[in-house]
Subunit: 129 residues, 3 copies
Protein backbone atom coordinates (compact mmCIF):
# COMPACT_ATOMS: atom_id res chain seq x y z
CA UNK A 1 0.00 0.00 0.00
CA UNK A 2 1.41 3.39 -0.99
CA UNK A 3 1.48 6.24 1.47
CA UNK A 4 -1.15 8.90 1.03
CA UNK A 5 -0.38 12.50 0.26
CA UNK A 6 -0.53 15.25 2.86
CA UNK A 7 -4.07 15.53 4.26
CA UNK A 8 -5.17 12.03 3.27
CA UNK A 9 -6.68 9.80 5.92
CA UNK A 10 -4.08 7.41 7.31
CA UNK A 11 -6.48 5.59 9.61
CA UNK A 12 -9.65 5.82 11.69
CA UNK A 13 -10.43 4.57 15.16
CA UNK A 14 -13.55 4.12 17.24
CA UNK A 15 -13.93 2.97 20.84
CA UNK A 16 -16.65 2.81 23.44
CA UNK A 17 -16.51 2.00 27.13
CA UNK A 18 -18.97 1.59 29.95
CA UNK A 19 -18.03 4.39 32.34
CA UNK A 20 -18.26 1.90 35.23
CA UNK A 21 -15.64 -0.31 33.57
CA UNK A 22 -12.92 2.36 33.60
CA UNK A 23 -11.27 2.26 37.08
CA UNK A 24 -10.79 6.00 37.45
CA UNK A 25 -11.08 5.72 41.25
CA UNK A 26 -7.79 3.75 41.21
CA UNK A 27 -4.83 6.15 41.53
CA UNK A 28 -2.38 3.63 40.07
CA UNK A 29 -4.49 3.24 36.93
CA UNK A 30 -4.95 6.99 36.63
CA UNK A 31 -1.29 7.91 37.08
CA UNK A 32 -0.12 5.19 34.71
CA UNK A 33 -2.45 6.24 31.90
CA UNK A 34 -3.08 9.97 32.16
CA UNK A 35 -0.77 12.99 32.20
CA UNK A 36 -0.77 15.46 35.06
CA UNK A 37 -2.64 17.98 32.90
CA UNK A 38 -5.25 15.40 31.93
CA UNK A 39 -5.77 14.45 35.57
CA UNK A 40 -6.23 18.10 36.60
CA UNK A 41 -8.66 18.67 33.78
CA UNK A 42 -10.79 15.57 34.45
CA UNK A 43 -10.90 16.25 38.18
CA UNK A 44 -12.18 19.78 37.49
CA UNK A 45 -15.11 18.51 35.44
CA UNK A 46 -18.67 18.04 36.80
CA UNK A 47 -18.39 14.25 36.42
CA UNK A 48 -14.73 13.21 36.71
CA UNK A 49 -15.34 9.49 36.13
CA UNK A 50 -17.19 10.26 32.89
CA UNK A 51 -14.35 12.55 31.79
CA UNK A 52 -11.69 9.92 32.54
CA UNK A 53 -13.72 7.26 30.69
CA UNK A 54 -14.25 9.47 27.63
CA UNK A 55 -10.53 10.29 27.52
CA UNK A 56 -9.67 6.61 27.94
CA UNK A 57 -11.93 5.75 24.99
CA UNK A 58 -10.26 8.59 23.08
CA UNK A 59 -6.80 7.15 23.72
CA UNK A 60 -7.94 3.72 22.53
CA UNK A 61 -9.52 5.24 19.40
CA UNK A 62 -6.34 7.21 18.66
CA UNK A 63 -4.25 4.10 19.16
CA UNK A 64 -6.42 2.27 16.60
CA UNK A 65 -6.18 5.18 14.15
CA UNK A 66 -2.37 4.92 14.19
CA UNK A 67 -2.69 1.37 12.82
CA UNK A 68 0.18 -0.08 14.85
CA UNK A 69 0.37 -3.61 16.19
CA UNK A 70 -1.49 -4.63 19.32
CA UNK A 71 -0.11 -2.70 22.22
CA UNK A 72 0.22 -5.21 25.04
CA UNK A 73 0.79 -4.37 28.66
CA UNK A 74 3.81 -2.18 28.09
CA UNK A 75 2.08 0.42 25.96
CA UNK A 76 2.07 3.82 27.58
CA UNK A 77 -1.38 5.28 27.05
CA UNK A 78 0.02 8.30 28.86
CA UNK A 79 1.98 8.98 25.67
CA UNK A 80 -1.34 9.95 24.08
CA UNK A 81 -2.50 13.23 25.61
CA UNK A 82 -5.93 14.77 25.00
CA UNK A 83 -6.57 18.28 26.28
CA UNK A 84 -9.15 20.90 25.28
CA UNK A 85 -8.12 24.08 23.48
CA UNK A 86 -9.64 27.49 24.38
CA UNK A 87 -12.80 26.61 22.44
CA UNK A 88 -13.16 23.31 24.31
CA UNK A 89 -12.18 21.24 21.27
CA UNK A 90 -10.04 18.23 22.28
CA UNK A 91 -6.51 18.41 20.88
CA UNK A 92 -4.15 15.45 20.61
CA UNK A 93 -0.48 15.55 21.52
CA UNK A 94 1.65 12.42 21.10
CA UNK A 95 4.74 11.68 23.17
CA UNK A 96 7.29 8.87 23.44
CA UNK A 97 6.36 5.59 21.72
CA UNK A 98 3.08 6.95 20.35
CA UNK A 99 4.93 9.82 18.68
CA UNK A 100 7.51 7.41 17.26
CA UNK A 101 4.75 5.20 15.84
CA UNK A 102 3.05 8.19 14.22
CA UNK A 103 6.32 9.55 12.85
CA UNK A 104 7.29 6.17 11.38
CA UNK A 105 4.01 6.16 9.46
CA UNK A 106 4.31 9.82 8.39
CA UNK A 107 1.16 10.69 10.33
CA UNK A 108 1.16 14.46 10.78
CA UNK A 109 -2.10 15.04 12.65
CA UNK A 110 -4.64 13.18 14.78
CA UNK A 111 -8.13 14.55 15.42
CA UNK A 112 -10.42 13.16 18.11
CA UNK A 113 -13.96 13.66 19.36
CA UNK A 114 -15.36 12.44 22.69
CA UNK A 115 -18.91 11.83 23.87
CA UNK A 116 -20.34 10.61 27.14
CA UNK A 117 -23.78 9.89 28.52
CA UNK A 118 -24.77 8.73 32.02
CA UNK A 119 -23.36 5.26 31.47
CA UNK A 120 -21.20 5.19 28.37
CA UNK A 121 -18.31 6.93 26.62
CA UNK A 122 -17.73 6.89 22.86
CA UNK A 123 -14.72 8.28 21.00
CA UNK A 124 -13.67 8.66 17.40
CA UNK A 125 -10.22 9.45 16.01
CA UNK A 126 -8.82 10.21 12.60
CA UNK A 127 -5.13 10.16 11.70
CA UNK A 128 -4.00 12.04 8.59
CA UNK A 129 -0.73 12.21 6.67
CA UNK B 1 -2.29 26.08 13.27
CA UNK B 2 -2.39 26.56 9.52
CA UNK B 3 -5.56 25.99 7.55
CA UNK B 4 -5.74 22.81 5.53
CA UNK B 5 -6.14 22.70 1.79
CA UNK B 6 -9.43 21.90 0.07
CA UNK B 7 -10.62 18.42 1.03
CA UNK B 8 -8.58 18.18 4.24
CA UNK B 9 -10.36 17.27 7.45
CA UNK B 10 -11.14 20.39 9.48
CA UNK B 11 -12.66 18.52 12.41
CA UNK B 12 -14.52 15.43 13.55
CA UNK B 13 -17.43 15.01 15.93
CA UNK B 14 -19.10 12.11 17.68
CA UNK B 15 -22.17 12.07 19.89
CA UNK B 16 -24.45 9.49 21.46
CA UNK B 17 -27.74 9.86 23.28
CA UNK B 18 -30.16 7.59 25.05
CA UNK B 19 -33.32 7.88 22.95
CA UNK B 20 -35.34 8.28 26.16
CA UNK B 21 -33.26 11.33 27.12
CA UNK B 22 -34.23 13.36 24.03
CA UNK B 23 -37.61 15.03 24.77
CA UNK B 24 -39.10 14.59 21.30
CA UNK B 25 -42.62 14.45 22.77
CA UNK B 26 -42.19 18.11 23.83
CA UNK B 27 -43.39 20.42 21.00
CA UNK B 28 -41.38 23.37 22.33
CA UNK B 29 -38.16 21.36 22.25
CA UNK B 30 -38.94 20.02 18.80
CA UNK B 31 -39.84 23.37 17.25
CA UNK B 32 -36.86 25.10 18.78
CA UNK B 33 -34.35 22.55 17.51
CA UNK B 34 -35.66 21.06 14.27
CA UNK B 35 -36.70 22.61 10.96
CA UNK B 36 -40.17 22.05 9.50
CA UNK B 37 -38.73 19.60 6.97
CA UNK B 38 -36.90 17.66 9.67
CA UNK B 39 -40.06 17.44 11.75
CA UNK B 40 -42.08 16.14 8.79
CA UNK B 41 -39.42 13.59 7.99
CA UNK B 42 -39.03 12.30 11.55
CA UNK B 43 -42.79 12.07 12.05
CA UNK B 44 -43.09 9.98 8.87
CA UNK B 45 -40.58 7.39 10.12
CA UNK B 46 -41.53 4.06 11.79
CA UNK B 47 -40.08 5.24 15.12
CA UNK B 48 -40.26 9.06 15.32
CA UNK B 49 -38.60 9.34 18.73
CA UNK B 50 -35.62 7.31 17.49
CA UNK B 51 -35.41 9.52 14.39
CA UNK B 52 -35.50 12.71 16.42
CA UNK B 53 -32.85 11.36 18.81
CA UNK B 54 -30.54 10.27 15.98
CA UNK B 55 -30.90 13.69 14.33
CA UNK B 56 -30.27 15.41 17.66
CA UNK B 57 -27.06 13.38 18.10
CA UNK B 58 -26.17 14.31 14.52
CA UNK B 59 -26.56 18.03 15.25
CA UNK B 60 -24.36 17.71 18.33
CA UNK B 61 -21.73 15.77 16.36
CA UNK B 62 -21.78 18.39 13.58
CA UNK B 63 -21.47 21.16 16.12
CA UNK B 64 -18.38 19.47 17.55
CA UNK B 65 -16.89 18.97 14.08
CA UNK B 66 -17.07 22.73 13.45
CA UNK B 67 -14.72 23.27 16.40
CA UNK B 68 -16.41 26.40 17.68
CA UNK B 69 -16.67 27.45 21.31
CA UNK B 70 -19.25 25.94 23.63
CA UNK B 71 -22.66 26.85 22.38
CA UNK B 72 -24.68 27.78 25.48
CA UNK B 73 -28.41 28.14 25.64
CA UNK B 74 -28.69 30.57 22.77
CA UNK B 75 -27.29 28.25 20.14
CA UNK B 76 -29.80 27.47 17.43
CA UNK B 77 -29.51 23.77 16.71
CA UNK B 78 -32.21 24.44 14.13
CA UNK B 79 -29.46 26.13 12.08
CA UNK B 80 -28.04 22.65 11.50
CA UNK B 81 -30.40 20.78 9.17
CA UNK B 82 -30.05 17.07 8.36
CA UNK B 83 -32.27 15.62 5.63
CA UNK B 84 -31.92 12.47 3.50
CA UNK B 85 -31.19 12.68 -0.21
CA UNK B 86 -32.94 10.42 -2.74
CA UNK B 87 -30.66 7.53 -1.77
CA UNK B 88 -31.47 8.00 1.92
CA UNK B 89 -28.02 9.41 2.71
CA UNK B 90 -28.23 12.21 5.30
CA UNK B 91 -27.16 15.58 3.89
CA UNK B 92 -26.17 18.57 6.02
CA UNK B 93 -27.27 22.11 5.35
CA UNK B 94 -26.09 24.93 7.62
CA UNK B 95 -28.04 28.13 8.20
CA UNK B 96 -27.62 31.29 10.31
CA UNK B 97 -24.99 31.16 13.03
CA UNK B 98 -23.87 27.62 12.13
CA UNK B 99 -23.23 28.72 8.56
CA UNK B 100 -21.33 31.78 9.75
CA UNK B 101 -19.16 29.61 12.01
CA UNK B 102 -18.39 27.21 9.16
CA UNK B 103 -17.68 30.04 6.73
CA UNK B 104 -15.36 31.78 9.18
CA UNK B 105 -13.30 28.57 9.40
CA UNK B 106 -13.36 27.98 5.60
CA UNK B 107 -15.30 24.73 6.14
CA UNK B 108 -16.83 23.83 2.77
CA UNK B 109 -18.60 20.57 3.55
CA UNK B 110 -19.92 18.56 6.49
CA UNK B 111 -20.72 14.85 6.22
CA UNK B 112 -22.74 13.00 8.85
CA UNK B 113 -23.88 9.45 9.57
CA UNK B 114 -26.61 8.43 12.01
CA UNK B 115 -27.35 5.13 13.75
CA UNK B 116 -30.04 4.08 16.20
CA UNK B 117 -30.94 0.92 18.06
CA UNK B 118 -33.87 0.29 20.39
CA UNK B 119 -32.42 2.49 23.11
CA UNK B 120 -29.58 4.56 21.76
CA UNK B 121 -28.60 6.93 18.96
CA UNK B 122 -25.02 7.46 17.75
CA UNK B 123 -23.82 10.01 15.21
CA UNK B 124 -20.55 10.91 13.55
CA UNK B 125 -19.68 14.06 11.62
CA UNK B 126 -16.72 15.21 9.58
CA UNK B 127 -16.07 18.78 8.49
CA UNK B 128 -13.72 19.39 5.56
CA UNK B 129 -12.13 22.50 4.07
CA UNK C 1 -22.41 17.68 -6.42
CA UNK C 2 -18.97 17.42 -8.00
CA UNK C 3 -16.72 14.47 -7.31
CA UNK C 4 -13.87 15.06 -4.92
CA UNK C 5 -10.24 14.67 -5.83
CA UNK C 6 -8.15 11.65 -4.87
CA UNK C 7 -7.98 11.31 -1.08
CA UNK C 8 -11.10 13.40 -0.37
CA UNK C 9 -13.80 11.92 1.86
CA UNK C 10 -16.60 10.45 -0.25
CA UNK C 11 -18.75 9.46 2.70
CA UNK C 12 -18.82 8.41 6.34
CA UNK C 13 -20.81 5.71 8.10
CA UNK C 14 -21.53 4.81 11.70
CA UNK C 15 -23.45 1.86 13.11
CA UNK C 16 -24.05 0.27 16.48
CA UNK C 17 -25.71 -2.99 17.44
CA UNK C 18 -26.58 -4.79 20.63
CA UNK C 19 -24.47 -7.94 20.47
CA UNK C 20 -27.54 -9.95 21.52
CA UNK C 21 -29.47 -8.65 18.50
CA UNK C 22 -27.05 -10.12 15.93
CA UNK C 23 -28.04 -13.79 15.38
CA UNK C 24 -24.51 -15.17 15.10
CA UNK C 25 -25.67 -18.55 16.49
CA UNK C 26 -27.76 -18.99 13.31
CA UNK C 27 -25.68 -20.74 10.60
CA UNK C 28 -27.93 -19.49 7.79
CA UNK C 29 -27.46 -15.88 8.88
CA UNK C 30 -23.72 -16.34 9.29
CA UNK C 31 -23.15 -18.06 5.93
CA UNK C 32 -25.30 -15.55 4.09
CA UNK C 33 -23.51 -12.53 5.50
CA UNK C 34 -19.90 -13.46 6.22
CA UNK C 35 -17.13 -14.89 4.05
CA UNK C 36 -15.38 -18.13 4.94
CA UNK C 37 -12.33 -16.19 6.11
CA UNK C 38 -14.44 -13.90 8.28
CA UNK C 39 -16.18 -16.90 9.85
CA UNK C 40 -12.85 -18.60 10.64
CA UNK C 41 -11.51 -15.41 12.14
CA UNK C 42 -14.55 -14.67 14.32
CA UNK C 43 -14.73 -18.26 15.55
CA UNK C 44 -11.07 -18.09 16.60
CA UNK C 45 -11.67 -15.03 18.79
CA UNK C 46 -12.21 -15.14 22.57
CA UNK C 47 -15.82 -13.97 22.15
CA UNK C 48 -17.11 -15.05 18.72
CA UNK C 49 -20.56 -13.47 19.08
CA UNK C 50 -18.96 -10.10 19.90
CA UNK C 51 -16.65 -10.45 16.89
CA UNK C 52 -19.52 -11.28 14.55
CA UNK C 53 -21.57 -8.36 15.90
CA UNK C 54 -18.69 -5.89 15.53
CA UNK C 55 -18.08 -7.08 11.96
CA UNK C 56 -21.80 -6.82 11.21
CA UNK C 57 -21.83 -3.23 12.48
CA UNK C 58 -18.73 -2.64 10.35
CA UNK C 59 -20.47 -3.88 7.22
CA UNK C 60 -23.47 -1.63 7.92
CA UNK C 61 -21.18 1.36 8.51
CA UNK C 62 -19.28 0.65 5.29
CA UNK C 63 -22.54 0.32 3.40
CA UNK C 64 -23.59 3.74 4.68
CA UNK C 65 -20.22 5.27 3.77
CA UNK C 66 -20.70 4.18 0.13
CA UNK C 67 -23.80 6.38 -0.03
CA UNK C 68 -25.85 4.02 -2.17
CA UNK C 69 -29.60 3.56 -2.01
CA UNK C 70 -31.22 1.46 0.70
CA UNK C 71 -30.11 -2.11 0.24
CA UNK C 72 -33.22 -4.20 0.75
CA UNK C 73 -33.30 -7.93 1.32
CA UNK C 74 -31.20 -8.83 -1.71
CA UNK C 75 -28.08 -6.96 -0.64
CA UNK C 76 -25.15 -9.27 -0.11
CA UNK C 77 -23.39 -8.11 3.01
CA UNK C 78 -20.96 -10.92 2.26
CA UNK C 79 -19.68 -8.69 -0.55
CA UNK C 80 -18.18 -6.48 2.16
CA UNK C 81 -15.27 -8.34 3.76
CA UNK C 82 -13.42 -7.15 6.86
CA UNK C 83 -10.27 -8.98 7.90
CA UNK C 84 -7.35 -7.92 10.10
CA UNK C 85 -3.90 -7.31 8.62
CA UNK C 86 -0.71 -8.50 10.39
CA UNK C 87 -0.92 -5.58 12.80
CA UNK C 88 -4.55 -6.42 13.66
CA UNK C 89 -5.92 -3.40 11.80
CA UNK C 90 -9.19 -4.25 10.02
CA UNK C 91 -8.89 -4.02 6.24
CA UNK C 92 -11.86 -3.76 3.87
CA UNK C 93 -12.18 -5.68 0.62
CA UNK C 94 -15.25 -5.19 -1.57
CA UNK C 95 -16.63 -7.83 -3.90
CA UNK C 96 -19.57 -8.14 -6.30
CA UNK C 97 -22.31 -5.51 -5.97
CA UNK C 98 -20.48 -3.61 -3.22
CA UNK C 99 -17.42 -3.29 -5.45
CA UNK C 100 -19.58 -2.15 -8.36
CA UNK C 101 -21.24 0.49 -6.19
CA UNK C 102 -17.85 1.77 -4.99
CA UNK C 103 -16.40 1.76 -8.51
CA UNK C 104 -19.39 3.64 -9.92
CA UNK C 105 -18.78 6.38 -7.37
CA UNK C 106 -14.99 6.41 -7.92
CA UNK C 107 -14.42 5.33 -4.31
CA UNK C 108 -10.86 4.02 -4.12
CA UNK C 109 -10.54 3.10 -0.45
CA UNK C 110 -12.69 2.32 2.58
CA UNK C 111 -11.29 2.43 6.11
CA UNK C 112 -13.13 0.94 9.09
CA UNK C 113 -12.73 0.69 12.85
CA UNK C 114 -14.59 -1.68 15.17
CA UNK C 115 -15.26 -1.60 18.90
CA UNK C 116 -17.12 -3.93 21.21
CA UNK C 117 -17.91 -4.03 24.91
CA UNK C 118 -19.78 -6.70 26.87
CA UNK C 119 -23.10 -5.79 25.30
CA UNK C 120 -22.60 -3.53 22.31
CA UNK C 121 -20.67 -3.18 19.06
CA UNK C 122 -19.89 0.16 17.39
CA UNK C 123 -18.28 0.67 13.99
CA UNK C 124 -17.15 3.62 11.92
CA UNK C 125 -16.28 3.69 8.21
CA UNK C 126 -14.83 6.27 5.87
CA UNK C 127 -14.88 6.04 2.08
CA UNK C 128 -12.39 8.14 0.11
CA UNK C 129 -11.96 8.91 -3.58
Amino acid sequence: ESLGKSGDSAGVGVDHELISSVPSHNPTFVERNFTANEISYCQSQPNPSASFAARWAGKEAIFKSLGVASKGAAAAMRDIEILPDEAGVPQVRLHGSAKEAADSKKIAKVQVSLSHSETMAVAFAQATY
